[in-house]
């Protein structure tokens, strides 16, 4: 097959096909989690795997996140390559002891003699009333503790490459997906190939303001870019799909070029991923900043269910746009902004 040929595929379907490919190629790969073998199959991402590979390798787990994370770690130590799936990132709080105290430390505390080739997939929920406990993105928790790699694939191609890289990696890797990306189509290579960790992608080039955006926020940033370009402002969108290891190079380079940085993140600002990236910019591009750098994330509140509050809670294209106008010292053209319809209709 010609490796340059590409196919158009949704993010969710890409996950499914990538898992299928990985399981087919390596009998030690197993997929486990709540509902991985049911008819909904984690938003379709594990659909058909149990039929093709059997329920010994596609394991519907009891609702015991803490122990099941330990089970996944033990299966990895015992020679398997488990992919443990969570329908919501929020459930990972239950698994923190196992992930932080064991998975992240196993290699180091045993003198580098052993490793835990574990993949944990989790999905961020947003909109349609996900509320307090179905909406969180926990990347900063995992960036804080050494020993776990963290990726947030944005496109279909990202998720194909990074999921394969995660499965092949000897370390624990957290793959944070976004529910709103599942239906989005993107080009994927028709030959499965792992992407290297530590990549930061420039999603759009521009000269005026650097907007750092990850996961679903890239979609919002691109919407903002379209509006802004109609008003003569040209933003550059930089997406650190790999948060651990993080390649700050393209971010710093972009900020050195534009002199303005707006760092967005799918989670809260305080001690968050946006704080970390803003600090890196301050350390490495301070001399080029023409205006103070800004951060944009969730409002410092629990995620509300009411739609007007939910809208106010999340960072989106409109908030990105307003911030960019202010950073450019320009007045926001009131009345010109038209909100999109709600993109996602429930139930999830």
């Amino acid at each position: 097959m010609n490796s340059s040929r590409r196919r158009l595929m949704s993010y969710g379907e890409t996950i499914r096909q990538t898992l299928h490919h990985a399981m087919d190629r390596d009998p030690s790969v197993l997929v486990m989690g709540i509902g991985v073998d049911d008819h909904k199959a984690v938003f379709g991402s594990t659909l058909g795997l149990s039929k093709d590979f059997g329920t010994r390798r596609v394991i519907d787990t009891p609702i015991s996140e803490a122990a099941m994370t330990g089970v996944a770690i033990g299966a990895a130590v015992g020679g398997m390559r488990p992919v443990h799936v969570h329908m919501r990132c929020d459930f990972l709080y239950l698994a923190m002891d196992q992930l932080m105290n064991l998975a992240a430390k196993w290699s180091y505390m045993f003198g580098g003699r052993m490793s835990v080739p574990l993949v944990v997939r989790c999905v961020i929920g947003r909109s349609w009333g996900q509320g307090a406990q179905h909406s969180q993105s926990l990347q900063s928790f995992f960036m804080h503790v050494p020993g776990i790699k963290v990726v947030m694939p944005t496109t279909s191609a990202d998720v194909q490459g990074l999921l394969l890289a995660a499965i092949a990696d000897p370390n624990p890797v957290l793959v944070i997906e976004h529910r709103l990306l599942y239906g989005i189509q993107g080009m994927v290579p028709s030959v499965f190939r792992a992407a290297p960790f530590g990549q930061t992608h420039v999603r759009r080039t521009g000269k005026d303001v650097t907007v750092v955006a990850n996961s679903y926020l890239v979609v919002e940033a691109l919407k903002a870019a379209e509006f802004l370009s109609r008003h003569g402002i040209d933003i550059e969108i930089v997406d650190p799909v790999s948060l651990v290891p993080l390649n700050a190079g393209p971010i710093v380079e972009s900020v050195r070029k534009t002199g303005r940085a707006l760092v967005t993140d799918t989670s809260w600002v305080s001690c968050g991923t946006s704080a970390e990236i803003a600090a890196l910019i301050a350390e490495k591009a301070w001399d080029r900043l023409r205006v103070p750098l800004r951060r944009l994330g969730n409002a410092p509140a629990t995620c509300p269910v009411s739609q007007p509050l939910e809208k106010a809670f999340y960072p989106d294209a409109w908030k990105i746009t307003r911030n960019v106008f202010e950073m450019m010292g320009r007045k926001f053209p009131e009345g010109k902004w038209k909100d999109d319809d709600i993109q996602f209709k429930g139930p999830f």
Binding site: Q98, L102, S107, F110, P170
Partner: protein, 307 residues
């Protein structure tokens, strides 16, 4: 057992010199549990332990030099000086890891048993944990899963009477810990864990059943912690202990029981004393090796965070 006892006594003697700069949790008085169970294992079986893991490491045949070098946090330690007393490891003899978070290795051991079952491997997994671990949710969750999947795992509940300083009866509505999960179908057996012959016999029987695919089993082995929860000293006279416990513990000293049995079977005191002397000089050599082993270079600080 003798090697464990004498090694830990040596650690206690060395501790005030500050050459061992890390918390230690001694298993003195509990030697028969590790030795009895590990003697019944086969090559290729996997074992997971806790921060009170000296006995387990040595019972499995982990090297004495690597053991003392790890106590001293030196390069030639079993965890290359990064783990210390609480994180012993010896995959070459089946010790896959020890954790300092109570109960945390129970699900990990269960996962290894899942791997063995998927791989069609003949290995059996043993999870060692204390009575304190029965307080934790992951114990119940793991047992449920192990039963559900009929996994080849033996749960060894080493009941030494105290979780830190609390008795079982102060933490549990019922104290027959081997039966607390009978409701979900876990078959458990309780016996005294100070007579190594009895422990060995019970472990052999349990492991045979697990190996034949009959699913998980629990062995509750009652024993007694002679030492502090953490630290080099004995607090067997401590105020938190019940009167009479000390006398009973000394009467049921696993080494005393073993020595008596060996003498009854024709061993001579002289031979047993010679064995002690030989073990002491083996420890002398291991300590000298550990003293000489270098500390890890600062260049090692960032090595091993990721593989």
């Amino acid at each position: 057992m003798l090697r464990i006892r004498l090694s830990e006594q040596r650690i206690s003697r060395l501790y005030p010199t500050d050459k061992i700069q890390s918390p230690i949790h001694l298993s003195t008085g509990q030697e028969a549990v590790s030795v009895g169970v590990c003697q019944a294992l086969r090559k290729g079986d996997h074992v997971y332990g806790t921060y009170r893991g000296h006995g387990l490491y040595l019972a499995l045949g982990g090297g004495l030099k690597g053991f003392f070098a790890e106590m001293f946090a030196k390069t030639h330690g079993c965890s290359h000086g990064k783990g210390g007393s609480m994180h012993l490891v010896a995959p070459e003899v089946g010790l896959m890891g020890c954790s300092a978070i109570v109960a945390s290795m129970i699900p990990v051991a269960t996962g290894d048993a899942l791997a063995a079952s998927i791989q069609g491997s003949s290995r059996v997994i043993v999870a060692f944990f204390g009575d304190g671990a029965v307080d934790a949710g992951v114990f119940y969750e793991s047992v449920n899963f192990a039963l559900l999947k009929k996994l080849p795992i033996l749960f060894v509940l080493e009941n030494n009477g105290y979780a830190v300083h609390s008795k079982v009866a102060e933490r549990h509505s019922r104290t027959d810990l081997h039966r607390v999960l009978a409701g979900v179908g876990l078959r458990g057996r309780r016996l005294e864990g100070n007579d190594v012959r009895q422990v060995y016999g019970a472990a052999q029987e349990a492991l045979r059943s697990v190996r034949q695919g009959a699913g998980p089993l629990l062995l509750e082995l009652t024993t007694y912690r002679w030492q502090e929860h953490v630290g080099p000293q004995s607090d067997i006279d401590g105020s938190y202990r019940r009167p009479g416990e000390k006398a009973r513990a000394l009467r049921r000293d696993p080494l005393g029981i073993c020595r008596h049995a060996l003498l009854e079977r024709g061993a001579t005191s002289r031979r047993l004393d010679a064995l002690c002397a030989r073990t002491e000089s083996e420890i002398d050599r291991a300590v000298a090796f550990a003293e000489k082993s270098p500390f890890p270079g600062v260049g090692q600080l960032l090595r091993g965070v990721y593989r």
